[in-house]
């Protein structure tokens, strides 16, 4: 018997892989956060400071010693180097200032000097904006912010008795973004625990101790790195979240490698390398362009991403289940934002699917039965002509029907007038709008059912009918006992397929009704598209789409059961 292999190398590999991934992830994350999100927060903080100052000065009466006292009280809480000025428009006065240069001769209150004209101009500008906003109902920003080299210059209007009398002007140094841990720190966090594991070759030879050692050292390495990073950044919520997430990813990797998953995966890869070589190009493509986008979309559904915050890290705009709650909460006809509620759209979607598939199946079946009549002349010609609607690209079909239903020049309204009816504005009423889409989709979907049924009908052996006739069965009895059961194996999958197609028939709804009137004829998929690409609410649209996926998945599981059940018969 050979001695069982030591678990120490595996623990070492697990620790190395887990630490490298966790530290690299959090390092990159912190880097990105310190560069991107920081500027936005600093700006918001600066705006908050100038707004507070304006409030304080207004409460102190906007002028005189009280206002100057408010200014210096405000100054006490500000970072060093901050300068605040209070400018009064009437008389172009500098009412108060915390600028260290404004002492002695220049001490406030005094008239503004020639080289301080910009301060007067800014106060006037702000007064203009406030007046305009009040008169014309605009909502232009009433705080001016300018990002200069190393500092912010801000201005906010000061009101007295409801009218703007002046402005506070603030010059505030911009702090450099907090430091993120450098490369040496990251390397140390990976290397030190590994070095610590090196001498434990004996102690960690068996499975249990090896795993324990790897876990403890992993925790030490990641924990140490996190503590260092948080100290550098001076705390902060999303930093902790980022570190926690990468630590979890790394931990999963440690466990995977340490428990032998990686070794087994490698063995399988080597043993089945030919099979994997064939499967990998397609799988890789699917992974990158189908499965990853899907997962990313699901992650997006938990965020409040819109067009305007696409550069923000996802942890910062994380909203949890809020999107789902918003979608599923409204039971009324319309959402608060005016779009139709999810339940209305779902109900419409179900009605749309059921009516379309029923029409397709019944028309297709009847035509197939007729075309299957023996001795009927011109059958091949009828068949080809009846398939044409299915052969046309469906976006062209949709645009053609949209044109035919045109209020003024559409053929359908001319035909109505021919029979003495009034022309209709088809897209102004939910019901008539629905009819246009139904007509279009019915037109393009019956040939599929017809072809499927015809194929099944032709495969029924003629002697079955012969035998039935000999036994004296009526035509209806033959239909029930022979035709329908033989159609079932072909029709059931065809119906299942066409339910999925119709449920998601984006082109027809999008191009024919476009949801008119006011979104009532949207189906779920077109509604999701509108949220994403007309309202730019990416996170919300992703949540909406995820709900659609869950509905389809439930349907898929259900149909799988049904087909199994019918196959058993």
């Amino acid at each position: 018997m050979t001695r069982p292999a030591s678990h120490w190398p595996r623990a070492l590999a697990a620790l190395a892989a887990g630490l490298a991934v966790a530290v690299a992830l959090s390092w990159a994350w912190l880097r990105a956060a310190s560069a991107g999100g920081y500027e936005e927060r600093a700006r918001a903080e600066a705006v908050g400071a100038v707004t507070r100052l304006a409030k304080a000065v207004e409460q102190a009466g906007a002028e005189g010693d009280a206002a100057r006292a408010a200014l210096s009280a405000w100054q006490a809480d500000q970072p060093a180097g901050t300068v605040g000025r209070l400018v009064i428009v009437s008389g172009a006065r500098l009412e108060g200032s915390t600028d260290p240069r404004d002492v002695g001769e220049r001490a406030a209150p005094r008239r503004l000097l020639r080289d301080e004209k910009w301060a007067y101009d800014q106060a006037q500008r702000l007064r203009g904006i406030v007046l305009e906003n009040a008169e014309q109902g605009f909502a232009r920003a009433e705080v001016e912010v300018e990002r200069l080299e190393g500092r912010y210059a801000l201005g906010a209007p000061v009101r007295k008795d409801g009218a703007v009398v002046g402005a506070v002007e603030v010059d505030r140094p911009a702090k450099p973004p907090p430091a993120a841990p450098g490369v040496p720190a990251a390397l140390a966090a990976v290397a030190l625990p590994l070095l610590a594991l090196l001498p434990l070759r004996r102690a960690a030879a068996r499975r249990g101790p090896a795993l324990a050692a790897a876990l403890v050292l992993y925790a030490a390495g990641v924990g140490g790195f996190a503590a260092w990073a948080l100290r550098l950044a001076g705390g902060g919520g999303e930093g902790v979240r980022a570190l926690g997430l990468s630590a979890a990813v790394g931990l999963a990797l440690v466990l995977f490698v340490a428990l032998g998953g990686a070794a087994r995966a490698r063995a399988a890869l080597v043993r089945h390398r030919v099979a994997y070589a064939y499967a990998i190009p397609a799988m890789l493509g699917m992974l990158v362009l189908v499965f990853f986008p899907f997962l990313y979309g699901v992650v997006l559904s938990f965020t409040g991403q819109t067009l305007y915050n696409t550069s923000a890290p996802l942890t910062e705009i994380w909203v949890g289940l809020q999107n789902y709650v918003e979608i599923l909460r409204t039971f009324a006809f319309r959402m608060p934002d005016g779009s139709p509620s999810f339940y209305w759209t779902l109900a419409f979607n179900v009605i749309w699917t059921v009516t379309n598939v029923s029409i397709g199946v019944s028309v297709g079946l009847v035509l197939a039965l007729i075309l299957n009549t023996k001795g009927l002349a011109f059958r091949p010609i009828y068949r080809v002509l009846l398939i044409l609607p299915w052969a046309m690209p469906n976006y062209i079909t949709a645009l053609i029907w949209r044109g035919m239903f045109h209020r003024q020049f559409g053929v359908v309204n001319y035909a109505r007038m021919l029979f003495g009816l009034e022309p209709l504005s088809w897209f102004d009423e939910t019901f008539t709008s629905y009819l246009t889409a139904l007509a279009t989709n019915g037109w393009l979907s019956f040939p599929f059912m017809m072809v499927v049924s015809l194929g099944a009908l032709q495969s029924i052996p003629a002697d079955l009918y012969e035998a039935a006739r000999v036994d004296g069965a009526s035509r209806w009895q033959q239909f029930k006992a022979i035709t329908l059961p033989s159609l079932k194996p072909a029709l059931v999958p065809a119906v299942i397929l066409s339910v999925v197609w119709t449920f998601n028939m984006f082109n027809i709804i999008f191009l024919v009704t476009g949801g008119d009137p006011s979104g009532t004829t949207e189906i779920l998929i077109t509604q999701a598209y509108k949220y994403a690409f007309q309202q730019y609410r990416y996170g919300y649209a992703a949540a909406y789409s995820t709900v659609i996926f869950l509905i389809l998945l439930a349907y898929g599981v259900f149909q799988n059961r049904v087909t199994r059940a019918t196959e058993g018969i």
Partner: protein, 293 residues
Amino acid sequence: MASRREERIPHWILHAVLVVMVLVAVYPLLWVISIALSGGQSLALASLPADPGKLDLLRAVIPWPERFSAANFTAVFRDQPFGRWMLNSVIVSAATTVLGVFLASTAAYAFSRFRFPGRRAGMMSFLVSQMFPGTLMLIPLYIIIVTWLGLGSTRTGLVLMYATTAIPFCVWMLKGYFDTIPRELEEAAIIEGAGPARVFWTVVVPLAKPAIAITALFSFMTAWNEFILAATFMDKEEMYTAPVGLRFFVGGFSQQWGYFAAGSIIVSIPVVVLFLYLQKYLVSGLTAGSVKG
């Protein structure tokens, strides 16, 4: 006892039903052809007087242009960049076909001939991926294709997306066909010393030609008829594909119905011909795939 004579429906009734249905099926197509041949951009088949009588209305409903002109067909190429859009569509569809068939046939071969860990999961994941709503994928795809890969408004980006989205259907279909090819032929080749790659390219692929042809045509039609992805990713007018261009003629405030009709006919003829030639295979492929699911 009832009479033994069949209670048959007279053939003229069947013909009547079929003729009505054929008229319904063909009318929109005749409508689009008449508009294309009318030479104008109007949506109406006939220009009507202010107070039209029955005859005028009849004229407006019958799909027969008032005068014939090929002006729309020449103008879409001369005055509009339709030729460019067609070229884009041809390139994208051809590249999608080549890439899609390569990816699908190799993968289908692996799934058909080898038993390996992840095989069942792979096939199931292909099925489930058919339920992913397109809107969920669009934003992440946009990030990957445009932001990360820098392939916005390029044909390469579209080809990559089309080829991968066609994979699941093609793999299921080809796998079904490969399953029916007897293994003995491959084993004979292996005994003669052929490696796995030789076996695949010289034995399996030639035998599966019919199925591969269908797959190729399916990939081609997917790319040729696709509208949403192309509309989302192709921002520049000169990079439009034919579907996006056709929508450009009649979408929004543009009402160039003559151009649209002429373009539609040019775009449709190849797919309609292919489709009529192919449809029986397509149906058997579709239903067979879903039964096995």
